[in-house]
Amino acid sequence: MSRLFSLGVAVATGVTLLFLLLPIIAIFARVPPGDLVSALGRGQATDALLVSIETNVIALALIVVAGTPTAWLIATGSGRLRDVAVTLVELPLVLPPAVAGIGLLAAFGRVGLVGGNIHVIGTELAFTKAAVVVAITFVASPFYVRSAIAAFESLDPSMTQAARTLGAGPGRTFVRVALPLAAAGLGSGAALAFARGIGEFGATLMFAGSLRGVTQTLPLAIYEAFDLDFDLALAISAELVAISAVILLATKVVFRWRSPSPSTTLFGPTTPRSI
């Protein structure tokens, strides 16, 4: 019975891992490596890579700068209002990307809720590079804010209390104690948000369009090449796989180094406790 169980577990694990890995192997197996590299040299792929990097870096900066204080306030708060805030922060997670795209258009489009006001001052948001940033920020921010809330909540309260009794005000306590102690969790949240942002597709397509060199990010370039040049689509996909793998590995390496936890995952940051 116990042997049967072990066998069952082993088979299920094997099937799961193979299933997860197969599409990635297929991407690299379809096209010879030389063709992959030359396909990447083509203008469309380079343009998309630049747009992706630029928009994602800006979006991540916005997410971290605005999301960190938000997460701190939510993590240290209490009561009904806090629960409402957590739910609001998680909203984009459950929103289908198409709905996010429509929502962003309805809000910031030319005839949108606040888009009209933007139009008056002579600029337009929709279908610009800024729109890509907005779409990515909207979709990816929950990944960061949720991790940051968890990281701040797992801080030993006696750490911040000790800082307060040592004469530090709330600001100094946050900067010198809470931030450094939550750094690992914040880092993993940022990595998650970045990974989600790099892969963002639906909301960007609807809100920013797919203009080569302007709003066409890597996933949009794949979608466009998919009909015309399958090898190019594969090459760009391989590029995205590489970027994602680098993010994942970098995060794990950082955690190995920061914490002795045996299993490091993007979702379970371990923060140093009091000593």
């Binding site: 006696s158 009794t165 004469g167 530090a168 000593i275």
Partner: protein, 344 residues
């Protein structure tokens, strides 16, 4: 300046209601079991907890006045709080930990606490005793007017404790600050504090110098907490002005204290002598039973005989050849049997 603390605050299963004053230079120990509300007192003084009602003042400086709506933030109260597990910042070096609250006296304090050689070390690399010294230095770097110590010995092993206790004793005397020390160990409290308050269920049951608490515990809880054996029984007046107590186990003991009805009989371990047979001496009370346990603490041995724990020197224990299971007689005088009311 004297520190006065009065407050009441609802806790999980009872309301804490505290009223105490600590004189300048005095060390006041709060002793009681876990969950008695000891740490709550420190949190209220430090400003980490705003109680439902009350007042905290150091001399003329009012830190908390619930009626007037005054409650200073912790960083605006001149307190040094040493946390139970020390709460050292794990990401900062010893030097940065000590200097967190104030840079002026860092090198003096590091020298005073013999941690100068650890300046660049992180807390994780330190021993328990070293961590405690870093925590003390850090709390004092801000030059506080009040020192609060939360179970300063609890995180130390038995070997380190004795030395640390002596150091703390000296430190508290030198600082001459009003200090509140929280501990669950009466011996620590007795060694370090000028006055001790025994706290249970959020209330201070008795306050006094440690020897006074031992000499005349106000009730059974204080007696057992200060280390006495507590036996339950039924008292009635007997011959020659003595009180006879029929213990719940059936044995009869005599006390010089007056009493009647349900009482607690308190016998301190050092009033109990152990022998192979009842000696023809002045002790009126004898309990004959097998030795249930023998515990050696330094040069003393605690011997559990029936319901009593007696304390003898290690040398005596060896001379008598005490062993577990051996039937011996534990004796104590009627003057060593104190009668206390039982709490209901």
């Amino acid at each position: 300046m004297a520190l006065s603390v009065t407050f009441d605050h609802p806790l999980r299963s009872y309301d804490a209601s505290i009223d105490l004053t600590v004189e300048p230079g005095e060390t006041f120990a709060l002793v009681g079991p876990s969950g008695a509300g000891k740490t709550t007192v420190l949190r209220v003084v430090a400003g980490l907890l705003r109680p439902r009602g009350g007042r905290v003042a150091l001399g003329d400086a009012v830190w908390l006045d619930a009626d007037a709506g005054i409650c200073l933030d912790p960083d605006r109260r001149s307190v040094g709080l040493v946390f139970q597990e020390y709460a050292l910042f794990p990401h900062l070096t010893v030097e940065s930990n000590v200097g967190f609250g104030g840079r002026g006296r860092v090198s003096d304090l590091m020298e005073r606490f013999r941690i100068g050689h650890l300046a660049k070390a992180k807390p994780a690399e330190l021993s328990g005793g070293e961590r405690q010294r870093v925590a003390l230095a850090r709390a004092l770097a801000r030059d506080p007017a009040v020192l609060l110590l939360d179970e300063p010995m609890a995180a130390l092993d038995a070997h380190t404790r004795a030395g640390v206790r002596a150091e703390l004793q000296e430190l508290l005397r030198d600082l001459a600050l009003p200090a509140i020390l929280v501990t669950h160990d009466f011996e620590d409290a007795a060694a370090l504090a000028d006055r001790v308050g025994v706290i249970a269920d959020g209330r201070i049951l008795q306050v006094g110098p440690p020897d006074e608490l031992v000499a005349s515990p106000s009730d059974a809880f204080v007696a057992s907490f200060t280390g006495g054996n507590l036996l339950h029984g039924f008292a009635r007046p007997a011959r020659e002005g003595l009180t006879e107590v029929v213990l719940d186990g059936g044995a009869v003991v005599f006390s010089t204290d007056p009493g009647h009805g349900r009482v607690g009989v308190v016998v301190y371990p050092w009033e109990v002598s152990i022998a192979h047979a009842a000696a023809a001496d002045s002790a009126l009370n004898h309990v004959s039973a097998p030795i249930a346990s023998l515990t050696t603490i330094g040069n003393r041995v605690r011997v559990r005989v029936g319901p009593l724990v007696g304390e003898v020197t290690a040398a005596s224990a060896e001379r008598l050849g005490l062993e577990r299971g051996q039937i011996v007689v534990a004796s104590f005088k009627a003057t060593g049997a104190r009668l206390v009311p039982l709490r209901d």
